[in-house]
Every structure is written in structure tokens, then in C-alpha cells.
């Protein structure tokens, strides 16, 4: 019963900003590159511009991503970077999730 409680606690303790699937995918992608253009994220995630922007705004509020707006000629350009804080949070989330999954697998076997 205690280990089950611990498992639930560790799942409840995960970072809710990252736990949302779309934001988790966005952070996973950003963690693999130095800088990523908005257009690429849109293509890979399949999210609409508005939806993606709203997720990015939440990640920016949490200081997990850095958003830079510029122009390429006359075309607006949005470039994104994961921050050190974002990278740490993603790493922490992965560890927590892995632990919770392992505990759950042990209990069911």
C-alpha cells in the first residue's frame, strides 16, 4: 500500500507544464537542437499555428524556452531554443516518469 502511495505521489509530483503531451513533444524536439524554427515544430507536431503558439507561450512563461522573433527578408521568423532550466526540467520529468513506470511494472509482476 505504501509503495502504491509513493507511486501515486511521484506521478502527482511531475511537472504539469511538461506533462501535457504537446508540450512534452515540443521540449523533446527542442532538446535535440541548438535552435529550431517554428515552421519545423508545426510540421513535426502537426499542431495548428494557434495551438502551438499557446503551448509555446506556456513554456516561455515557465522559462523553459526562449522565443526569438525576427525577419527573413519580409517574412516573420520565430526561432526557439530550450533554456538550461527547460533542459533540467525535462530531464527531471523523464526520471520521475521512468521511476513511476518501473514501480508500476514491479507491482504488477
Amino acid at each position: 500500500m505504501t509503495s502504491e502511495r509513493n507511486n501515486i505521489d511521484s506521478l502527482l509530483a511531475v511537472d504539469r507544464v511538461i506533462h501535457e503531451p504537446a508540450r512534452l513533444v515540443v521540449l523533446t524536439i527542442l532538446a535535440e537542437a541548438e535552435a529550431v524554427e517554428f515552421k519545423f515544430l508545426e510540421q513535426v507536431t502537426g499542431l495548428t499555428k494557434g495551438n502551438l503558439s499557446s503551448h509555446l507561450a506556456k513554456l516561455e512563461d515557465a522559462q523553459y524556452v526562449e522565443i526569438k522573433k525576427s525577419f527573413r527578408g519580409k517574412i516573420p521568423l520565430t526561432t526557439l531554443k530550450i533554456t538550461r532550466r527547460g533542459r533540467q526540467a525535462l530531464e527531471q520529468y523523464r526520471k520521475q516518469f521512468k521511476t513511476a513506470l518501473e514501480q508500476s511494472a514491479k507491482r504488477s509482476s
Binding site: H19, P21, A22, L24, V25, T28, I29, A31, E32, A33, E34, A35, V36, E37, F38, K39, F40, L41, E42, Q43, V44, T45, G46, L47, N51, T79, Y93, R94, F97, K98, L101
Partner: protein, 213 residues
């Protein structure tokens, strides 16, 4: 987006696609190298068979510049057309690129400076080495910076720049081994074709990933 499970292990394809795609911002050149191999071959043919003329000089100088331009254009306009993704770059790769270029710059510019200074102090009051050679030596680190994405590219690129400088001074070939050169050209073309095939399959995955979500 609901189709995506939050399990971090199921996110691996997204990470892999991004990593692979980002390679085409720095280290992978794909068709850029296939064209580079052909331009290197053309440079060799012009250098070996064409008699000295204005056209020959211009062609020899233009070819390495054209390779750099084509490679860059393909990277931006073709291989990164789904949005620019800059590679984080392997630490080893960065170390080699910056380290080797800095070392080459130190040595070659040191040699150029020494030959000019010592030459001006000598009774003849001119550099101790022909100007063409000094220009060639001085251009080596710059060529290395632009061409060093792998060793074959580096050697062929530096070779083409050297040929361009010699050609610009109207020099003719004085017999050199071309077997190794052809081997390197083939290696570059083969690497380019392989990278391009990787990109084609990556593009398929990229489209599928978007649809899954």
C-alpha cells in the same frame, strides 16, 4: 495531438527525426557533395587539359566558390525547407573544426608573415617565396573553414583552392598523381548520395510524424 502518449520512451522518434534533420544544417551536405565531387573533377580536367587563357583562370577560381555556394544553397533551400533546425553539434566535431582551422591559421599565416618579413629585410627587398605560393598558403585556413565538414571535403576543397590560385597565376600542371584524387572524388560523391538517401527517408518519416499527431 491526443495520439501521442506522454511516455518519454515513445518520444524517441521525435528526438531522432530532429537530430537527423539538424545534421543537414552543419555536417551533412547530401547533393552538395555530389555536385562538389563533379566540380572537383571539372577543376582537375580544366587544370590538366585546358591551355592558359582568361577563361581557364576564371573557371578555376569560380569552381571552389561555386561548390561552397551550392552547398549552402542546398542546405538552406532544400535540406532545411521544413524550417531551419541548427544542430547542437558534436563536441568532437566542433573541437576538430575550430582546433584544426586555428592551428592551420597559426602555422600558415606565421609562415607567410615570416617569408614576407625576412624577404623585405634581405638585400633583394622582396618575399623569399613566390607570391602565388604565399597566397596559396595564406588561403589554406580559410578554405579549411569553409570545406571542413569531413576529411575528404577538406582535402578536395583545399586542393581546389590551391589549383585556383595556381591557375589564376597562369601556371600549368607539372605532372601529379591523379589516382588518389579520383578515389577521393568518388568517396565524396558516394558519401553525398548516401546522405541524400538518408534525407529522402527522413522526409517520409517527417511527413508521417506530422500526420500521427
Amino acid at each position: 495531438m491526443n495520439a501521442i502518449n506522454a511516455n518519454p520512451e515513445q518520444l524517441a522518434p521525435y528526438a531522432e527525426i530532429t537530430r537527423e534533420y539538424a545534421r543537414f544544417s552543419r555536417s551533412a551536405a547530401g547533393l552538395g557533395n555530389v555536385i562538389g565531387g563533379m566540380l572537383a573533377l571539372l577543376s582537375w580536367a580544366v587544370w590538366t587539359y585546358a591551355p592558359d587563357s582568361i577563361l581557364r583562370r576564371v573557371v578555376l577560381v569560380v569552381l571552389p566558390v561555386l561548390w561552397i555556394a551550392v552547398k549552402r544553397w542546398l542546405r538552406h533551400r532544400y535540406y532545411q525547407r521544413y524550417g531551419q533546425v541548427t544542430s547542437r553539434g558534436d563536441r568532437r566535431e566542433k573541437f576538430w573544426k575550430v582546433g584544426l582551422t586555428a592551428l592551420l591559421a597559426l602555422v600558415s599565416w606565421g609562415v607567410v608573415a615570416a617569408f614576407i618579413i625576412l624577404g623585405l629585410r634581405s638585400p633583394q627587398h622582396r618575399p623569399l617565396m613566390p607570391m602565388r605560393l604565399l597566397v596559396e598558403i595564406g588561403l589554406v585556413p580559410i578554405a579549411a573553414w569553409f570545406f571542413f565538414d569531413n576529411w575528404v571535403e577538406l582535402v578536395l576543397g583545399v586542393g581546389m583552392v590551391g589549383t585556383a590560385v595556381s591557375g589564376a597565376y597562369g601556371e600549368a600542371p607539372h605532372g601529379h598523381e591523379s589516382g588518389l584524387l579520383f578515389l577521393m572524388i568518388l568517396a565524396l560523391i558516394w558519401a553525398g548520395v548516401r546522405e541524400h538517401r538518408v534525407y529522402v527517408s527522413l522526409e517520409q518519416k517527417l511527413k508521417q510524424t506530422g500526420r500521427l499527431a
